[in-house]
């Protein structure tokens, strides 16, 4: 893991958002920086954050294992999160999920609670269910990376995936 000067500077800026004696508060911001840069958070990432904030690695690792938004494994080039929760389920999110998997060539049969992400064979797409993306009036909804998409019915899946090359 190579941390660029730019990333280092950004990390220091985030640390400055909290009181001097409360550097630990910058744990999540720093983990987000790493995940954005490297796609996931590895052991070296955990150590880097711990060193940076004067913590034990376990103080950081326990966050990575707790929060569903932090990953220990690299996802595909485009990571898709389909909302699973009630209003989206009523709007047909399971059909949407099946359709995306079919079009993108993703096999979700090995997915478990602790390993919720499935990756397409070519590594282009990865997918997981997300718990309520807070757009219940426009379901089914999903995030592709940082892009938010509404009304993603099975019919709309083809066009959606074409946007990501």
């Amino acid at each position: 893991m190579e941390v660029s000067a730019e990333l280092e500077a950004k990390a220091d800026e985030y640390i400055g958002h909290y009181p001097d004696d409360q550097r630990r508060s910058a744990s999540l911001p720093l983990l987000h920086l790493l995940q954005q840069e490297f796609g996931h958070i590895g052991e070296d990432g955990v150590r880097w954050v711990a060193d940076k904030l004067g913590l034990e690695p376990i103080n950081v690792l326990e966050l990575v294992t707790f929060y569903p938004g932090l990953r220990q494994k690299a996802p595909g080039k485009y990571h898709i999160r389909v909302c699973r929760t009630l209003s989206c389920a009523m709007a047909g999110c399971h059909e949407t999920m099946d359709k995306i998997c079919q079009v993108a060539g993703i096999d979700r049969s090995g997915v478990t609670h602790h390993d919720p992400i499935a990756i397409s064979e070519d590594g282009k797409f990865s997918i997981e269910f997300a718990e309520c993306l807070a757009s219940c009036g426009t379901g089914p909804v999903c995030l592709v990376g940082d892009d938010f998409h509404e009304g993603v019915t099975p019919e709309a899946v083809g066009e959606l995936l074409e946007k990501y090359d």
């Binding site: 911001p29 569903p68 699973r84 009630l86 718990e131 219940c136």
Partner: protein, 467 residues
């Protein structure tokens, strides 16, 4: 000020009263500070900064504003809980972890009108004496976090934020802090733990009431996005005048988010208590889908107890009581509580007669099982047991005693946990099982074995196979 024009097809319903959502879906509107200022933005901050901080709190108390995040606690009263002899720094936290299923209002404020939130926050900071504020935004709003960060920069450049706000000598900084996908961070003490860089295990109250012992053990006010926006409008109108909007004890406007089986799901900002459930569903939302019948409504986010369409509710009327149906329930805090549920976060989920209640509850149970932080045993174990039982029912493997077991597991969670998540995960099960027992019994017949009913059931079966 001229009445705003809205994007074609996204015009507010004629009975809406838009304060907070005034600029949502507005034609020619963008989230920049120039647009906001041209529309009279930051005028209320200019006004507030010349007032005594205590006087602002008094206005908020007089307004009767109740928190829009779920609990409905009076905002001004909350502010008043900061110990009077306090010498520690005070913090303000904007709870933008919007994650209660069925709720989708803060999303639009953050994405379309960030400066309204910032103005409300700076006024609130000044009122409670906070020099630093954090916006705790859920990780699933990456675009929203960027918009807020840019808006904060813009506000700082114009001296609405920074060391010397508008030359008043009051210094105030706001930082955006992103969560990482955990619902429990919407619970205020869990949020504080998360902001401190720890696992978001909620703290026990007492003693950890945030207004006294919050972030870094300092007095901390945690308010919902919508609540903080209302502060701006309270300053504009005055607390007394604001309190005339809505109904007594249930003042102001609030945003109702409707989803599920209606023709026009969406957000509707109305005066609290001036619209009934029937008007909301049939008029605002164009009725239940495809001519189907109303079966049930979850009125205030997925943790609110479900209301059955054919139930009768006894509510206060003047000095006496009266019996009303579901469509007659006014959308306010107190009546919804009298009907055995809660107005919560304003997320209304409508279900028609095609919906299988075991399927619905299973979806909700899966959410809470996933989101329990795991700190308290009844919740950690119970939420998962409830999910496993409804999983089994949907997969065709339920047994008759499951219905009773399901209810008893829920009964043993509520009231036995550190935070309100225990109630939040128990209430759906308690209410669904009590109100639709026949539907759950249907799922415990052996003849269902091996016949998964839907995508959800398929998922449930896979979950069982894996556990």
């Amino acid at each position: 000020m001229a009445a705003p024009k809205y994007i074609k097809g996204k015009e507010p319903h004629k009975r809406e009263r838009r304060l907070i959502f005034r600029n949502v879906d507005r034609e020619g509107w963008d989230p920049s500070i120039a647009t906001y200022i041209a529309d009279g933005g930051y005028k209320q901050l200019e006004k507030a900064i010349k007032m005594e901080p205590g006087a602002i709190t008094e206005e908020v108390k007089a307004s009767g504003l109740r928190g829009r995040g779920g609990a409905g606690f009076p905002t001004g009263v909350k502010w008043g809980f900061i110990p009077p002899n306090n010498t520690k720094p005070v913090y303000l936290i904007c709870n933008c972890d919007e994650s209660e299923p069925g709720t989708f209002k803060d999303r639009y404020i953050v994405h379309q009108d960030p400066h309204q939130l910032i103005e409300g926050m700076v006024i609130s900071c000044y009122a409670v004496g906070a020099k630093v504020a954090y916006i705790y935004i859920r990780e699933e709003f990456p675009e929203g976090a960027k918009i807020l960060e840019e808006a904060i920069e813009e506000a700082r450049a114009k001296k609405f934020l920074g060391e010397d706000v508008l030359g008043s000598g009051f210094g105030c900084e706001i930082y955006v802090h992103r969560g990482a996908g955990a619902y429990i961070c919407g619970e205020e003490t869990g949020l504080i733990e998360s902001l401190e860089g720890k696992r978001p295990y909620p703290r026990i109250k007492p003693p950890y009431f945030p207004a006294a012992l919050g972030l870094y053990m300092c007095p901390t006010i945690v308010n919902n996005v919508e609540s903080l926006c209302h502060v701006k409008h309270i300053i504009e109108m005055g607390g007394e005048e604001y309190s005339k909007i809505g109904t007594p004890r249930n003042t102001g406007t609030r945003i109702l988010c409707v989803s599920g089986d209606v023709n026009r799901p969406g957000y509707y900002e109305v005066e609290v208590g001036k619209v009934t459930m029937g008007e909301l569903i049939d008029d605002f939302c164009g009725g239940v889908k495809k001519g189907r019948e109303l079966k049930a409504v979850i009125p205030g986010g997925s943790s609110a107890k479900v209301l059955r369409a054919d139930e009768e509710y006894t509510v206060k009327a003047g000095d006496g009581e009266k019996t009303i149906g579901i469509r007659d329930i006014p959308m306010d805090f107190d009546t919804m509580a009298a009907c055995g549920s809660m107005a919560g976060s304003g997320g209304v989920i409508v279900m028609d007669d095609s919906r299988d209640m075991a399927w619905v509850l299973n979806n909700i149970n899966a959410f809470y099982a996933h989101e329990s932080c795991g700190q308290c045993t009844p919740c950690r174990e119970g939420s998962l047991w409830m999910k496993k039982i409804t999983d089994r029912m949907l997969a065709g493997g339920g047994v008759p005693s499951d219905v009773k077991t399901l209810g008893s597991v829920a009964d043993n969670i509520a009231g036995r946990t550190i935070c309100a998540f225990g109630e939040a995960c128990a209430w759906p099960t308690q209410s669904f099982v009590a109100k639709f027992p026949e539907e759950f019994k249907k799922h415990t017949s052996r003849k269902n074995a091996g016949k998964p009913l839907s995508g959800e059931a398929k998922l449930a079966a896979e979950g069982l196979a894996g556990s």
